[in-house]
């Protein structure tokens, strides 16, 4: 710590030198906050580090599928080159690379395969248990991944006839459509 005399001398010198850098008076410091840290342990030091982000997500060329769901339609793709039909739409054909056009899919199909999830990603953990199914449609070459409702693990089987249902208020997510058994399982 400087003596009072020394401090005074510095201050005087500062005033005398009008064009030079001004000396610093008082306290220069970061403001203190009550933020603190969530600490899990200290050796090694492990703290909570929050991270969050909102994306401006464009569905791009897939957009008509999602606007279609809001109108109660299932939109797929058909290759303009080779005629291959995709239940999950794609802009270009996987078989021949040709451009595709939009087609409307039937609203009924069958369970091609399925599972019941008792755990899940954090985003979906609170929804467990839920059923996932890949649905096959007559006249369409590929499948569609959906949630399957109204049926338990014990009741689902490969080949189960299912039909599409749509949310009344669309969220513009692929879960705007879900499937239920066509008949009592």
């Amino acid at each position: 710590m400087k003596s009072k005399a020394a401090a005074k001398k510095t201050a005087t010198a500062g005033r005398a030198k009008a064009n030079g850098p001004k000396p610093v008076y008082g306290k220069v410091r970061l403001p203190e906050t009550d933020q603190g840290a969530v600490v899990f342990r200290t050796d090694p030091l492990i703290i909570k580090d929050h991270y969050e982000i909102d994306y401006i997500h464009s569905y791009g060329e897939d957009s008509p599928f999602f606007t279609g769901l809001a109108q109660g339609k299932l939109m797929g793709s058909e290759c303009t080159g080779c005629g291959y039909r995709f239940a999950t739409p794609r802009a270009y054909c996987m078989a021949c690379g040709g451009p595709t056009r939009w087609i409307e899919l039937p609203l009924e199909g069958r369970v091609h395969t399925w599972t019941t999830c008792y755990f899940g990603s954090e985003a979906f953990l609170k929804e467990t248990p839920f059923n996932l199914a890949l649905v096959e449609f007559d006249g369409v070459n590929t499948l569609l991944l959906v949630r399957l409702l109204g049926v338990t693990e014990k009741e689902i089987r490969v080949g189960l006839p299912v039909k599409a249902k749509f949310r009344r208020l669309a969220q513009f997510k692929p879960t705007d459509v879900y499937f239920i058994p066509t008949e009592k399982a």
Partner: protein, 432 residues
């Protein structure tokens, strides 16, 4: 392409969480292990690095690769990062192979790591699920265990595969790991234990699924000239093969099986392939690797396989993709004990991902390290003198050198690598 040899390898013991060390230090420790195991190799001999890690989300550190490289004292030499989901480590190994095979470099370090413990397990599952189509698949319930569960439900439907057969894979791999000090889990299990553990996604239980982990692994590859000079017991990288398939399972075609040399088209009449029951990328990678290695029948010409058993189901599916048995026979293959340590073709003698864990970017290189030690006959040397999981060569000593395959696999079979490694020691050294 010129011959390429693996001259050393190292790894950290994989663990659910390693908070005491950052990824850079884990890589450095794996690298130092490899350097110690090849004393003539000095830093100035190394021409460059290939670094693999899967997810920037887990690390929350972009350009982490260069930080691992500079920690190892390997700047300002060339380096590149490789990424391809679960097969990131396998792709890294093969990229290092290309560096040497092409003549561009004489000595390259392939280094991989993953730190998955900085988020909770379910957030980690969310990050992994972002490796599925984020327009159509992830928002429906993005969960990789769910995806693999759907694939094996179809396998069960097509071929009659049972949950008990899957459980036997878990029992086998954990049993193999009982004597592997590098393994994370030392579980002496029964089929009932596997089935009684909590259901994650029908039919997969917790013990059917590998553990997200922290860890690092390193493989050092070199040209023939450098290998001869620096390593007394190098292992030849005989061939590499790779394949891909569509990201979305829903897009997988229903066509015909690409046949291996020993297979007959009549075996697969009426089978719609790959659908979602098989991994076409695994078949393509195997086919390419076998053709380049001159392997006519992998059942006879491989002595062991370290394959990507992230799920017990995918191990069974992979037996078939690799032609270790016919499509549809994977369940019977494990029933017959063939992939056991004492069977006709040991699969995952180390314990695989199920027992060792799956720090994604390190996993494919871990397989390379275990295969390297196997083919050197050095398992005991790296395992406190316990050679229990050292594979013996299965046939007469006058035949070809001992060989193993390593198989690395990404998200529902999108990228798969198969690399064939061959011993340079006399087959007699393995007590054939």
């Amino acid at each position: 392409m010129r011959p390429v040899y693996m001259i050393s390898g190292g790894l950290t013991k994989f663990t659910k969480a390693e908070p005491r060390k950052s990824f850079r230090v884990m890589v450095k420790e794996a690298f130092d292990y490899a350097m110690r195991d090849c004393p003539k190799l000095t830093l100035d001999r190394i021409d460059g690095t290939v670094v693999s890690y899967f997810s920037d989300h887990f690390t929350r550190q972009l350009m982490a690769g260069i930080m691992a490289v500079d920690m190892c004292g390997l700047v300002p030499k060339p380096s590149i990062r490789v990424e391809g989901g679960g097969s990131t480590g396998g792709l890294c190994f093969q990229e290092a192979w290309r560096h040497v095979a092409s003549g561009w470099m004489d000595c390259v370090v392939a280094m991989g790591f993953e730190v998955m413990s900085h988020v909770n397990t379910w957030k980690g599952n969310e990050f992994i699920a972002l490796a599925s189509d984020t327009n159509f698949d992830y928002p429906v319930g993005g969960f990789y265990s769910g995806y693999y569960a759907m694939m094996v439900v179809r396998h069960m439907h097509e071929f009659g595969t049972t949950v008990e057969q899957m459980a036997k894979v878990s029992v086998k791999n954990h049993r193999n790991a009982l004597h592997n000090k590098w393994a994370q889990h030392h579980y002496d299990l029964t089929v009932e234990d596997v089935r009684r553990s909590p259901m994650v996604a029908y039919p997969l239980t917790m013990l059917d699924i590998c553990t997200m982990s922290d860890g690092a692994a390193v493989a050092i590859l070199a040209s023939e000239k450098v290998a001869e000079k620096l390593c007394e017991n190098p292992v030849r990288v005989l061939a590499v093969g790779q394949g891909t398939d569509a990201m979305r399972m829903s897009d997988r075609p229903h066509g015909e099986v690409p046949l291996l040399k020993h297979e007959d088209a009549n075996w697969y009449k009426g089978l719609k392939y790959p659908g979602v029951h098989s991994f076409r990328a695994g078949r393509m990678a195997s086919k390419m690797a076998y053709e380049k290695a001159g392997i006519e029948d992998p059942r006879e010409e491989l002595d062991f396989v370290e394959l990507h058993d992230a799920y017990t189901s995918s191990e069974i599916q992979t037996y078939e993709d690799m032609g270790l048995c016919r499509y549809g026979q994977g369940g019977k293959f494990i029933d017959a004990g063939k992939p056991e340590l004492t069977g006709s073709l040991p699969v995952n003698p180390s314990g695989g991902l199920l027992a060792c864990g799956h720090p994604v970017g390190a996993t494919g290189l871990m397989q390379a390290v275990f295969a390297f030690w196997q083919l050197q006959g050095n398992i005991a040397r790296h395992n406190d003198g316990d050679g229990s999981f050292q594979v013996k060569q299965k046939r007469g000593m006058d035949r070809r050198p001992m060989r193993g395959a390593i198989h690395s696999h990404a998200g529902t079979g999108t990228y798969v690598t198969v690399s064939i490694l061959e011993s340079t020691r006399s087959p007699m050294a393995f007590g054939a």
